[in-house]
């Protein structure tokens, strides 16, 4: 019966290519041929061959060289080296280089059919294995935290330890480092793992809405409150409450929240009855909260309540060793989502990824890989898929809005002159009053630039 196994025969001799192709075709395989290494690599770039028959002795590029590249760029393709009679040494070298087997020309038909069968079995197992691993990863979604660097290993250890307790946790780290993932991991490994994980982005709501979002409200509590609504505190009962961007919670509500955290009791907005809840708090912030305390924007008692245990996630640029691991992790995910056959990220492209500073951290890396996978037309992500990272102004970040361009320019110039208004105004060729007005209008502040 016809099967869809695809094979590429690489040999500089036409007769060998033709006769091997003919023989394999009669066994029902899909067979193509290439007369040399570069032709073979170009074909591999487009088609995910299952098996490669590769001649060791070829002019221009030797079979061993081709083997190296194939093993690096297309690790899922199996390779059988073809050697001339009496060159066992090179065959041994090839096996060390990662070839799956070798055959000596001319082959015994028995040997060839057995070997092909065996390799196809092996390939089937490999594919099954990959499939099962994907399923496993899916089942343990919180393991999406990836990193082999010492810093991340330490963090993983901390997560394990912290999960066993019921104390409040404060997670620090720049935007995009995966604070929510860490919170989810702690929840998933804790005794509360069968309860809900309720997340709320405190920066995402104006003050009064945040209040009703957290505490819920009774019917008629305010205009538009037609029905009673449960707050996130309610929903988090027996589970974990995750307060993201906790640094943006207004001072007044910090007092209310502090009380809830201490008594585990609260009132809905417009309600009189007291509701008792049982949850664990995990909070996260990308701001330095101790600075906010000094400025009087964050209450010290609230901070101590949240910060029983603190975890810090290092920015991606401080753990560049994790970049290849993460990049491959995301490649795997988006390859599956887009159903594209993309095997690897080539060395040069990986070098670009490692060099880049990743101000948006892991989230930015993820977006970059997703974008590259979407635009990629071949089987590997090359440097050309990542040119947008090397450009000064990346096309994704580029804005056409005159106003936004103006704001960005003002910020840059102000930063350059260390917020010396006079000098900045001179450089901008506008007068100081105008610059002051613009600063006010666009709410520009010296510290904004860093967050």
């Amino acid at each position: 019966m016809a099967n869809k196994v695809s094979i590429l025969v690489v040999d500089d001799e036409l007769v060998i290519r033709e006769s091997l192709q003919g023989w394999l075709r009669r066994s029902g395989y899909q067979v193509d041929t290439a007369d040399g290494g570069s032709a073979a690599l170009a074909m591999l770039d487009k088609t995910p061959y299952d098996l490669l028959f590769l001649d060791i002795m070829m002019p221009v590029m030797s079979g061993i060289e081709v083997l190296e590249m194939v093993k690096e760029d297309y690790p899922q393709t199996l390779v059988v080296m073809i050697t001339a009679y009496g060159s066992v040494d090179t065959a041994v070298e090839a096996m060390k280089g990662g070839a799956n087997d070798y055959l000596m020309k001319p082959f015994d038909p028995d040997q060839l059919s057995l070997l092909t069968e065996k390799l196809m079995q092996q390939k089937k197992l490999l594919d099954e294995n990959i499939f099962l691993r994907e399923q496993m990863a899916e089942a343990t979604r919180f393991e999406n935290l990836v990193g082999s660097s010492a810093a991340m290993q330490e963090l993983f250890g901390m997560i394990q330890d912290v999960a066993a307790t019921d104390s409040s946790v404060l997670i620090g780290g720049e935007t995009g480092t995966g604070k929510e993932l860490v919170a989810k991991a702690i929840h998933a490994k804790s005794a509360r793992c069968n309860g809900p994980f309720i997340a709320i982005n405190c920066g995402g709501f104006p003050e009064h809405l945040l209040e009703s979002e957290l505490f819920g409200h009774e019917r008629g509590a305010f205009t538009g409150a037609h029905r009673a609504k449960k707050g996130r505190l309610d929903l988090a009962h027996h589970g974990t409450l995750f307060l993201d961007e906790v640094g943006t919670v207004p001072i007044k509500m910090q007092v209310d929240l502090l009380r809830v955290l201490e008594t585990k009791k609260f009132h809905r907005v417009g309600g009189t009855s007291e509701i008792e809840v049982d949850f664990r708090t995990i909070a996260a912030s990308n701001r330095d909260l101790s600075q906010a305390i000094e400025k009087g924007e964050f209450r010290q008692d609230f901070f101590y309540r949240l910060n029983v245990i603190s975890l810090h996630i290092p920015p991606l640029r401080d753990r560049r060793d994790d970049i290849p691991l993460l990049a491959n992790h995301f490649l795997e995910r988006y390859r599956r989502e887009t159903n594209k056959n993309i095997d690897t990220i080539v060395k040069e492209a990986m070098a670009i990824l490692r060099e880049y500073d990743w101000p948006g951290n892991v989230r930015e890396l993820e977006n970059a890989i997703e974008r590259a996978v979407v635009i990629c037309k071949r089987r590997r992500l090359g440097p050309e898929e990542f040119t947008f990272l090397t450009l000064q102004t990346s096309p994704t970040a580029r804005t056409y809005s005159l106003e936004e361009t103006q704001i960005a320019h003002l910020r840059e110039v102000l930063k350059e002159f260390d917020w010396n208004i006079t000098k900045a105004a001179q450089a901008l060729e506008i007068n100081r009053v105008t610059l002051h007005k613009k600063i006010k209008k666009y709410d520009l502040r010296p510290h904004r630039a860093s967050s």
Partner: protein, 179 residues
Amino acid sequence: MRLGTVGEAVLKIVAANLQEILNLPVDILPARQTPEFAYSDNRKQYHAALILKKLAESRRPHPRILALVSVDLFIPVLTHVFGEAQLGGRAAVVSTHRLRHKEEGGGVSLDTFYERAAKVALHEVAHTFDLVHCKQPECIMRLSSGPNDLDELPLFFCEYCEAFLEEAYRRYEIQRLPE
């Protein structure tokens, strides 16, 4: 058609089997000489693909041509072949050279020899009708590498290959014998 010194009996038996099992009319063509042009001095064997190429050029009206030879056949990647055919093409060739002996040594009976030749011929001719190797244990299209393997094969096609064959006859507009 036979090339070189192939016995009359085996030729007739192969022809009869093809006619019976494939349900196709078969002519026995006059014998030709051993194809010396296909001889390889290096390997002391005959290049099967070259013989096929020559056969395919034949000006005879027959849609398929099978040659029976007594010399040992090879294709460049393999040490030997029992037979060779153009997948979906016109020509097939079968060698009786390795069919007379057991793998472990010693000759086989004439009956076994004839049966083996018929099996290889059927297998190769079916390749010219686009059939590829079959995984079913009970099918003549199963790949066999040694003569002992051949003895295990049945002298018929499995139902799948039978269906593929029927389909190929229609596609190639092959006239079958009346039932």
